[in-house]
């Protein structure tokens, strides 16, 4: 995840930007991370690491999502 995309993903997780994926799992993952951040049970760095691991599992659709997020 490059710097610009990472910054935008952080904003999505903080609720400052809205992005809905065509991948159900990605939407569920974003929602889970948002709840964890809100409850204070994890920090942003942990969320980003988990998000990177998640996207690595879906390389074909992640490419589209990351390109869309970069354009937000």
């Amino acid at each position: 995840m490059d710097g610009i995309v990472k910054e935008k993903v952080e904003k999505i997780l903080q609720g400052e930007l809205r992005y809905t994926s065509a991948n159900l799992a990605f939407n569920m993952e974003i929602s889970k991370m948002q709840r964890r951040l809100k409850s204070g049970s994890v920090d942003m760095e942990t969320c980003i690491k988990e998000m990177e691991a998640f996207l690595a599992k879906y390389p074909i659709v992640a490419k589209v999502d990351l390109a869309n997020i970069a354009m937000l």
């Binding site: 065509a22 929602s31 659709v61």
Partner: protein
């Protein structure tokens, strides 16, 4: 495809890898082979929705490099995330009303890494008019279970991946009250409505809320439904679990259930789903008997699994790449 018992037996004997949904009277006659199955007499076929105890719905899993089948009880069902293929698909069938179904419903969203392993499936059931016992089958061992889940691990070729999605006619109105619950549960008494604690059953009754509409939670634009099973004097039970720290609202009323369902199907972008299943509540409320909804064919189920257990939804899987 909806086919006869003889045709199904022939496919099994040819060594095909299969997912099979049918009435128990048919599944119990099948020989051992590379298949898993679950009980339901309701289907959406190429010819439309129907109840049949004469035919079986069969998906050929010809996109698999290899498969493995295992069964799990409530204490080990989440081993699926450890035992699955690194690049694959987990197809899971769980019998309705069992401890393993309750465990999966309540805990799946909190299982680490579940979202990293595409998991699709359904809750097996029975003919609602006659009742019965929901079962699942492990065809590789020639066993059936009323208290275990059966999982088929499907290994995909390099460069392919499974993508799971759903079609849901429900959404919320962000101006409606936010309902939250204290725990992950299938039956609740207390809830908070806009932060104020109250009895959920009384809240439903006092506000004349129709329970044909599910609770919906907005997961970053994907709405996950939780359908209401029963409202008693002071308790409300659900077909899937509600979860703590999740904001729910009642779904906005759908005037033309069948029409809305058809519209959502037409809007969906699936080209060639390798598997789909649809909720019995959509079948009933959407009057899907005799109705075709191409390209979505498959069992009509007592609950759908798209990673976690959900309700009143059509779920499907496509193989990408």
């Amino acid at each position: 495809m909806l086919i006869t018992l003889d045709e199904t037996v022939r496919l099994i004997n040819e060594g095909k890898k299969l997912h099979i949904a049918a009435d128990d009277s048919l599944l119990s006659q099948l020989p051992k082979g590379n298949w898993i199955g679950g009980t339901t007499p309701y289907f959406i076929s190429e010819e439309g929705g129907l109840l049949s105890k004469e035919k079986l719905f069969v998906n050929e899993i010809d996109y698999a490099e290899e498969i493995r089948v295992e069964s799990y009880g409530k204490y080990n069902v989440f081993q699926i995330v450890e035992e699955c293929y690194d690049n694959g698909l987990i197809m899971l069938i769980i019998p309705f009303g069992t401890d393993v179904a309750a465990k999966y419903a309540k805990e799946a969203p909190e299982v680490e890494e579940l979202l990293m392993h595409p998991t699709i499936g359904w809750i097996s059931g029975f003919d609602l008019a006659t009742g019965g016992t929901a079962k699942v089958y492990d065809g590789t061992r020639g066993e059936s279970y009323t208290d275990k889940a059966v999982a088929m691990y499907i290994k995909l070729p390099e460069g392919k991946s499974a993508m799971i999605n759903m079609i849901n006619i429900f959404a919320d109105d962000k101006n409606d009250p936010v309902i939250q619950f204290n725990d992950n549960d299938l039956t609740v008494s207390k809830c908070t409505v806009n932060g104020k604690e109250m009895n959920f059953a009384q809240y439903i009754k006092e506000n004349g809320i129709g329970t044909k509409m599910p609770l919906v939670a907005d997961h970053n634009g994907s709405y996950i439904n939780t359908s209401i099973k029963e409202v008693t004097e002071d308790k409300v039970s659900f077909y899937a679990s509600v979860f703590r720290n999740v904001e729910y609202r009642f779904a906005v009323n759908v005037e033309d259930y069948a029409g809305q369902f058809r519209d959502r199907v037409n809007e969906a972008s699936a080209r060639c789903p390798v598997f789909s299943c649809n909720c019995i509540l959509n079948y009933q409320f959407g009057n899907l008997e005799g109705k075709k909804i191409p390209p979505y064919t498959g069992p009509v189920t007592f609950g759908e699994i798209a990673y976690q257990l959900i309700n009143q939804t059509l779920v499907y899987c496509e193989i990408m790449g």
